[in-house]
Symmetry: C2
Subunit: 334 residues, 2 copies
């Protein structure tokens, strides 16, 4: 018999055989056991922190996610462990399961792209790990998991439409990391807006990369070196757009008159750059807070042994924010 | 007798009376106790996370601190809880003591300004909280606490000297938060370099503020509105310098030809802005990693019941990094 079994009996938990229970209670009575608050809190301390798991090169996004989750944690007395990870690691599921066991985490908030990997989610579920997901989707997937979902496609459509309505026809697109569903959704929004306005897709204007400044810089250099260069570039997040801005300025271009630039996220950088960036306001912190609230509600329901529905999943729609980095197409240029 | 006492005996910890020990061992033998790995890990789980405490508006600095501490934590099997706080809160000591107790943290890494408050450190020490400090100082304070120290004054001297050697005489200075000792040290470095080069201190060129973009923007607008405006501005960190850059550009000025700008930190922004910023390379991540290593070494020494010296405290000297935001004084201007 283990100390754990003794602990289970003392704390009146289920899953102990009646015979064992009686032996323990008798032995404990013989020892003169008295309830001990700190021993109890030691046991329950295992569930007083939650973890947030992300893999993103963007410091503003990471801070937004952390602050949102922390807001919910503090309101409910939870601590927050951070776990940046390598989403391409083949042993990620094992790593997260061990993290939860080792650090006694009550559950995890999963940011993309971890939140969008069916096999990872299945492994966590079968290991009994509680989690909530932040995902890119237009609608609630209604797959039985708790999540918040962000309509990236619709917002990317709005940004592209804004550029088209300014007169731009040659609009470059710089991808975020293809492991993120948000990158695909943003690309589809771009593609769909061009289609609706009768502009043919030009593969030479589309460059792959990650959600990083460096890839924005590199991608923009490539596009600006084209014989027929774009008059506008849509970077899949504000970090990419910051790279585009630096590339344009280092080529002596005047933004927005020589080149319009749009990002996505509404990060602090987008307001601080000169000119400030046209972008889509993503409400990262609100999303993360609601995700953590979903997780905590799930944990409390389980703590009380209740089933059924808890807090509702919630969708977020980023809104177009027009600033100084986009301007009407110059009449002369082509 | 409490479950905690039983646990102490089973795990062969000190501070249990011999008579009690014998009674417990007998009773446990009667129960057929076998060592249980998960019960053991549950007990020791209380010390498997450390906390990092900061109060800073700069996302790059925060991420640098987190990554450094995480690097050390992961190498030694610790989780990391984050605790951004309000350094001006009158109940901060109590908040941190409760955090450690509630989340069963093994110890804390204290960033400035919390690391520099004698009364806070005394309260933590008397509550038995283990901590290590990241502080601004030219030398090891040798006050018996584990710390890493950063020579802000010397680096600020180098930055100011660089501007003077470019021909600048009217050099504006934008303060960081006065609750941070680093702000004072940077100011003293500025003051000391001006003094050594025989340039009189002009109070109208010195503006107070926090380590933030907004205060950099506001401070620069104030300086640029002067009848005799400065030809160079030294912002106490890169966020402030970013604000100065935005203010200069929004006034139609050309950096560095109309205004030289220097920051402090070598944050990613300083390389990504256009022009990139002259700054001092601060090695935030290395500092934070060494701080966490000091803490973990301290915990291990205690765990083995050893006294005496552990890892040595370590100093860091930020180095001047000259980039495109500073240039020689224009011959005509004054």
């Amino acid at each position: 018999m283990s100390l754990k079994t003794v602990s289970r009996v003392i704390n009146d938990e289920p899953a102990v055989q009646e015979q064992t229970r009686e032996r323990v209670l008798q032995a404990v009575a013989d020892l003169g056991y008295q309830p001990d608050a700190s021993a109890r809190s030691l046991r329950s301390a295992q569930s007083y922190a939650i973890g947030v798991v992300y893999d993103n090169p963007n410091p503003y996004y990471i801070i937004g996610i952390q602050h949102g989750v922390l807001g919910a944690c503090r309101a409910r007395g939870y601590g927050l462990q951070i776990h940046p990870c390598d989403s391409s690691s083949p042993t990620l599921a094992q790593e997260l399961i061990e993290l939860v066991a080792h650090s006694r985490l009550a559950g995890l908030v999963l940011a993309p792209p971890m939140s969008e990997r069916a096999e990872l989610l299945a492994a966590l579920t079968s290991a009994g790990v509680r989690f909530v997901r932040i995902i890119s989707a237009a609608d609630d997937p209604k797959d039985g998991t708790d999540c918040v979902f962000l309509d990236d496609r619709d917002a990317a459509y709005d940004i592209t439409e804004h550029l088209v309505q300014l007169g731009h026809q040659r609009i470059g697109f710089l991808w975020g990391g293809k492991s993120h569903r948000s990158s695909w959704e943003r690309y589809r929004g771009y593609e769909s807006a061009l289609h609706d306005y009768g502009i043919a897709l030009d593969e030479s204007l589309i460059v792959e990369g990650d959600y990083s400044f460096d890839d924005g810089f590199r991608g923009a250099r490539k596009l600006l070196a084209l014989a027929q260069r774009p008059s506008a570039i849509f970077g899949s997040n504000d970090e990419i757009a910051a790279g585009v801005l630096a590339a344009a300025k280092s080529s002596g271009m005047h933004v927005p008159f020589d080149l319009s630039i749009a990002g996505f996220e509404d990060s602090p950088f987008s307001k601080q750059s000169w000119p400030p960036l046209t972008t889509a306001k993503q409400a990262t912190e609100d999303m993360a807070r609601h995700a953590a609230e979903l997780l905590i509600a799930q944990l409390r329901r389980e703590g009380r042994g209740e089933g059924g529905a808890g807090l509702a999943n919630r969708g977020f729609s980023p809104e177009l924010v027009v600033r100084g980095s986009t301007a009407p197409m110059k009449p002369a240029a082509g």
